[in-house]
């Protein structure tokens, strides 16, 4: 059996690599088709993120929120739900935190404490909103994709409304808040880059999530519910409770991501369109195979792809959005059971026969 197990593991690995390669190939094709200087474009996209300190900082700046939304989506995806509310609460949390910070500028609290309070408030707001689609799904059997996407739109307009009526900056031509006060900014770890102390929060979140997953009974329950709900029921696990908590935790981590991102990277709140964070988190969760300990890898990969796309966007005439197509291809192929399935089955057949032969000898 050992060989068969190894063959299965090997194929999992090959599939991820192959999926990434195919996604890159499709992207290259797109780039080659529309640009006059494809070599330059590919260079910017593939190597760009590592060429300067600033760009690598950008990459890490994206990596931090992906750590948080990715771990959040691990909870959701591991419980076999496709709740995308992480996207809505990401901006809601960022918005609430920004408003509180601006309205209370110069507050007489130690900055570290004030930042901590803001992050906690953001997280709690996210968790509270995250409860809505979770309850709708587990108590009323309303599909979580529909409810979470409807709520995401509502939250998008709600945040725009709050920014416009509370803290809008009338000096700028687009909708955005006034500048965030200095004291709430997360400390930069490397000056002149987006690498900020939120990195520690992100990594800590990965550790916390891993502990919850494997070192608490809640984690066991969530994973078992996500893997086989009927079995969870017979085992006496409170399914509704476990799944609601998983989805609320997912929203909370994502909301923390939004708050950290606002205080770490931005000078003002300006997320007036959908952030795609729900989907990005899902991609990270798929890449890390629902295992929070692998989230840093998935998050880094996504941050790298996104940074490359951004660089490409301002260096050439290629719009950023192609990267969404690329992400989708990666998800589709990695999650595809039958992708390369033929080869896998043939190999397993050979191994099983071989093993049987060895036994008989």
């Amino acid at each position: 059996m050992k060989k068969i197990k190894q063959a299965n593991a090997l194929f999992e690995f090959i599939r991820i690599i192959a999926a990434l390669l195919i996604a890159y190939a499709i992207t290259l094709l797109l780039i080659v088709l529309i640009t006059d200087d494809p070599i330059d474009a590919v260079y910017h996209f593939a190597i760009g993120p590592f060429t300067t300190k600033r760009r690598f900082g950008q990459l890490i700046g994206k990596f931090i929120p992906y750590l948080l939304t990715g771990t959040g989506m691990c909870f959701v995806y591991a419980s076999n739900r496709f709740n995308l509310i992480g996207e809505g609460v990401y901006s809601l949390s960022g918005c609430i935190v920004a408003i509180l910070a601006i309205k209370n500028a110069g507050i007489a609290l130690p900055p570290a404490l004030w930042i901590a309070i803001l992050l906690i408030i953001g997280t709690l707001v996210g968790a509270a909103v995250g409860l809505i689609p979770a309850l709708m799904r587990e108590k009323l059997a309303i599909h979580e994709i529909v409810s979470s996407i409807m709520l995401n739109f509502a939250l998008l307009y709600l945040t725009n409304y709050l920014i416009k009526t509370r803290v809008a900056d009338t000096e700028i031509t687009y909708l955005g808040s006034t500048m965030l006060p200095k004291e709430v900014k997360l400390t930069a770890l490397v000056n002149g880059t987006n690498i900020h102390s939120g990195l520690f929060i992100g990594l800590l979140a990965v550790v916390v999530a891993t502990v919850i997953f494997y070192r608490t009974s809640l984690g066991y329950h969530i994973r078992i519910c996500g893997s086989n709900q009927e079995f969870a029921k017979v085992s006496g696990i409170n399914i509704a409770r476990s799944l609601i908590i998983a989805q609320v935790l997912g929203a909370a981590f994502s909301a923390l991501g939004g708050a950290v991102d606002i205080l770490g990277v931005y000078d003002r709140y300006m997320w007036t369109a959908l952030t795609q964070m729900g989907f990005d988190g899902l991609l990270v969760a798929v890449l890390s195979k629902k295992k929070p300990q692998y989230v840093p890898l998935g998050a880094f990969l996504l941050a790298y792809m996104r940074t490359g796309a951004t660089i490409l966007n301002y260096k050439t005439d290629i719009p950023l959005e192609f990267v969404q197509v690329m992400q989708a291809v990666v998800i589709l192929l990695i999650a595809a059971e039958q992708f390369l399935g033929k080869y896998k089955n043939a190999l397993i057949f050979r191994l099983a026969k071989q093993e049987k032969g060895e036994k008989n000898v």
């Binding site: 709708m136 409807m150 795609q276 719009p319 969404q324 595809a336 039958q338």
Partner: protein, 317 residues
Amino acid sequence: MFNLDFICSFLASVIRVTTPLFFVSMATLVTRKAGLLNMATESMMLAAALTGVLVSGWTQSLLFGVLAGIVASAAVALIICYCAFKLKTDLYLTCIAVNTALSGGTTFAMYVFAHDKLYTLQVVHSKAFGNWNIPFIKDIPYLSTILSGHNILTYVSILGVVIMWFLIYKTRLGLRIRGVGENPRAAESSGVDPVKIYFISFLICSVYAAFGGMYMSMGYLSYFMRDMMSGRGFIGMSAMNVANAKPFLSMLTSLMFGFSQALANLMQLSNIPSEAVSMLPYISTVIILVVSSSIRMVLSLRKERAESKDYYDQPAD
């Protein structure tokens, strides 16, 4: 303000904004009858809306635009089917991924072909569907305001509901779709290939979704706008689900959802900030879903409870 004229024109606007929902609810209905929920109708709509605008703009032919739109939408359907039924990716995950791909992909394509990331307005002058005045009715006061003079696709959408009803309940294909939806393995053992039926129902779905999308970009508006479906795919599906996948009932529930959209549009004219008003259709969708599901839950719980009445009504020991 609230005189009869006003009410009539409001009702007309309800029909105007419900038209895409008619299309989408029928699009999702056919896949649900086959036993699947299609969460990616928005992608199909986006693909058709953009392609329709671009092709009709280039060829200056509405017909070519429409055909291209349908082809684009069907291509999205084929991608979904291939991933979900051949490569065996989870259908929901597939739909979510395709939605993101198409949201980015259409923006990308719009930039490449129309050199703008927000609207196609400046560059492409596409053809649009015209309006139609219904003979006789157009001469009846008030009624004509409500029913006549809508975009031709509005009438197509209503015809589409009838066609869908006929397809599902009267034709051989409809019987097969219902059979597969109820028990795919049984259908397979009767020689009906479920995967083929899934492909067909997704393709039919994509045609309806294509018209829904093209109504948005070549009827309701006359240009393509980034992410212009803004949740209509899901609202239409909710309408179908609330109506329990009954074609004509889905029309009524679609009107209910359309009503809140029209109300929101109306309130844009008032002093309330537009951002707050824009939430209305989404919030009301959530509320309608909660209410209808609660009623369904309570009824089924009550039935279960009634079946076990003797068991529960004994004295405790």
